[in-house]
Amino acid sequence: MWLYIVRRLILLVPIIIGVMTITFVLVSALPISNRLTAVYGDPSPRATWVYNPTLNPGQGPCPGLPNTHTCSNPVYQRDIHALGLDQPVPVQWGIYIFNSLTFQWGTVSNHSSAAILISSIHGLPVITVLSWYLPYTIELAVLSLLIILVISIPLGNLSAVNRNRPVDQAARIMSFSGFALPGFLLASLVLTAFVIGVGSNTGYHVYSPWCPSGATLYGEFTGSWPVSSCFGGIGGATSYPSWIHNNGIYSTPTGFPTVDALIAGQYWLALDTIIRMILPALVIAFGTIAILLRFVRNSMLEVMNLDFVRTARSEGIPERTVIKRHAGRNSLNVTITVMGLLFAFFIGGFPIIEEVFNLNGVGLMLAYSVQNSSGPIDFSLVFGTTLLFTFIVVFANIIVDVLYAYLDPRVRLG
């Protein structure tokens, strides 16, 4: 098995290099001026100088540009050199691959939407920023997976046992509708329903132990942390522990918000964090139950036709026990495989859900970084996220394969 894992890890290198080559090709397709703008913002200091023999004596006109221009703008030259864009393309590719593999993913440029919306990430390394935001997404993914697991395994078994009966049809329709309803729409509908249904025109307030002054319902169900306008919480007037930044960026000790709150002994904060996660997790779960339900149902149907199930039945074991012990357990292999892949896919971010609910996860970071309304796209951040997700997906594939072989001894790795 260890040999297999090592071999898979070695095979992983060309895939990651391939992904990075694709992103490299895409970036190289951009004109140099665009790439400089994406990193340094405002293009005017790098604009080609107007050729003026009295101001810049000794400099000829720039080749490829009109006679009136010179290409020796020192800012332009400096920036090009700093990014290595004056190197030959294969060397640039090598640098790109090396930096990617050594986690030097560049910095968040100051002009990017993400940096504007979350001011405290200005100019920080992309990998640091991602490491701040990843734990929240992992917690959200775990919670959603738990919900999916709790719903889809019993429901899948039920619909396999009652195949083509009304229960089965109802489960299918439900799972299809989860698939057909876009997440952002469901999220907004849920939020709106909560605000309309429980709130009123005058702004309904929720008075909780952690926010005795009352928070609006919208504020109570969005955001990763209590709204900053909530005063007088148990934690004091500011109601924030010292390790939480106003922007929700938190660094110590583990980075996982719930765990950190528990370590700090602020149980109300941990509770609040989980409560805020429930609604988004339900929305995510509703959208993905369809996938797991179908797998559970199919693998259950397959297992129920196998010989050992028939033997168990003929031995007079009650049907309930047969389904639970014999068929159910053996159909779990596929389920666990799909769960692993779903988890990787989940960490790939729910940019939309996180944006609707305003949660501080990698998805929100991604959503902010690609919003090109307020400036050029922050390519460092976008490509950094791409790389991170690729790593996660590829590693999850390996883990799932190994787990599959562990759970089903008949499967031989090789």
Binding site: L26, N34, L181, L191, T192, I196, N372, S373
Partner: protein, 384 residues
């Protein structure tokens, strides 16, 4: 097949001796028979046919674009943003108690949220200061049109773009997958490793990267107009995302079909390689592709909606009110209304959420039901 489930008739079997109808027609009959037995897929088919009829109706209706129920804020022809098109009512406001200057003017509410424009005094369902069925198009909140009109005009565009996008990816995948499966060896290895690479990139992110990178450098591909270029870009972006799935699917299928007796027979009777691929292998490995395509067609508007929601407004909505775009724009607006709701001004344009969402939902679920039925009808191994 269980007895009693089939309602009266039995599946059209192989042709009887004596008369021999076209086998393809026989096969279609059989497919239709199995499809008919699945109620859900019939419902899906019905919804899709309704949408197609709606699209035909919308196209044949002599509705010029500028007759959309749009509103504009500045004088006609001034060239300013939101300036009126010919035939549009200019938005005007008047304070309560005075007479309106002309038809189409709205009383200024005592206070309205910053994103809400001057609007109808009395709306049918007392929805606050918003015309029922309106949709804000621009973030500046000045251009409006009826959501119902938008949905009607968007049917044909939605259907076309989803078929085009999925078709592009499927054709590329079919081609590469067939080559990979048929030739094997180095060709197969190379294509499959490339597939692996593409499969490990997150889908939506990849489309975003392709669109943003290519979109910033080129405003026109193949000499097309900017909007058409964006459509082509979108198709290319999704093609890049979807071809690996289809390539893998087709390859697996081709590997099975390649070893079948009839292919061997064709080879033995001296058929050329091209003929074997085109007449024997591809037709026999194409059904899973159809099924996968019919599943994917439903997700295209959802993905476009996700893109628009993330800030990639690809099409000018006034002219191409694609459903995903409509839904995403509506949802983007809702956030502002909900925020305003906190400070006591609580007007929620629920129709903005419900109707585009319902259209998207019906489309996706109809396609899914139909695909489910097709899978049963086309794949004998899954027949119940």
């Amino acid at each position: 097949m269980e007895a009693g489930v089939a309602t009266g008739s039995s599946p059209p079997g192989p042709a009887r001796r004596g008369r021999r109808p076209n086998p393809r027609i026989e096969q279609w009959k059989r497919t239709w028979y199995f499809l008919r037995r699945n109620t859900l897929s019939l419902v899906g088919l019905g919804i899709l046919l309704f949408f197609v009829a709606l699209a035909i109706y919308a196209v044949t209706q002599p509705l010029p674009w500028d007759q959309l129920n749009t509103f504009c804020s500045t004088n006609q022809g001034s060239g300013a943003p939101n300036s009126c098109l010919p035939g549009q009512n200019q938005i005007c406001t008047y304070t309560a108690g005075t007479t309106p200057p002309h038809a189409g003017c709205y009383q200024t509410p005592a206070s309205y949220p910053s994103v809400v424009p001057p609007t109808l005094t009395a709306s049918p369902l007392s929805t606050g200061p918003l015309p029922l069925g309106s949709l804000t198009i621009l973030p500046s909140g000045n251009l409006y049109f009826s959501i119902y009109q938008g949905l009607l005009r968007g049917v044909d565009w939605t259907l076309m773009i989803s078929v085009a996008i999925v078709g592009g990816g499927a054709i590329a995948g079919l081609f590469l997958g067939a080559i990979s499966g048929f030739y094997g060896g180095v060709v197969d290895e190379t294509i499959m490793r490339i597939v692996d690479v593409f499969l490990s990139i997150p889908q939506l992110l990849f489309v975003i990267i392709v669109i943003s990178v290519v979109g910033t450098t080129t405003t026109s591909i193949f000499g097309l107009a900017p909007t058409a270029t964006k459509a082509v870009l979108l198709i290319l972006g999704f093609m890049a995302v979807w071809w690996p799935f289809y390539a893998r699917l087709v390859r697996g299928q081709v590997l099975v079909v390649r070893e079948q007796k009839y292919v061997e027979a064709a080879r033995a009777s001296g058929a050329s390689k091209g003929r074997i691929v085109a007449r024997h292998i591809v037709p026999n490995s194409v059904y899973p592709v159809f099924i996968q395509m019919s599943l994917d067609v439903g997700t295209v508007p959802l993905l476009i909606a996700a893109l628009v929601f993330l800030g990639f407004l690809l099409f000018p909505t006034l002219y191409f009110p694609e459903w995903g775009t409509l839904a995403a724009l509506s949802v983007t607006q809702i956030g502002a209304f909900l925020t305003d709701c906190q400070v006591g001004i609580c007007y929620i344009p629920w129709w903005q959420l419900v109707f585009p969402g319902l259209a998207l939902f019906l489309y996706a679920i109809a396609v899914n039901f139909l695909a489910d039925g097709l899978r049963d009808a086309l794949d004998p191994r899954l027949r119940r």
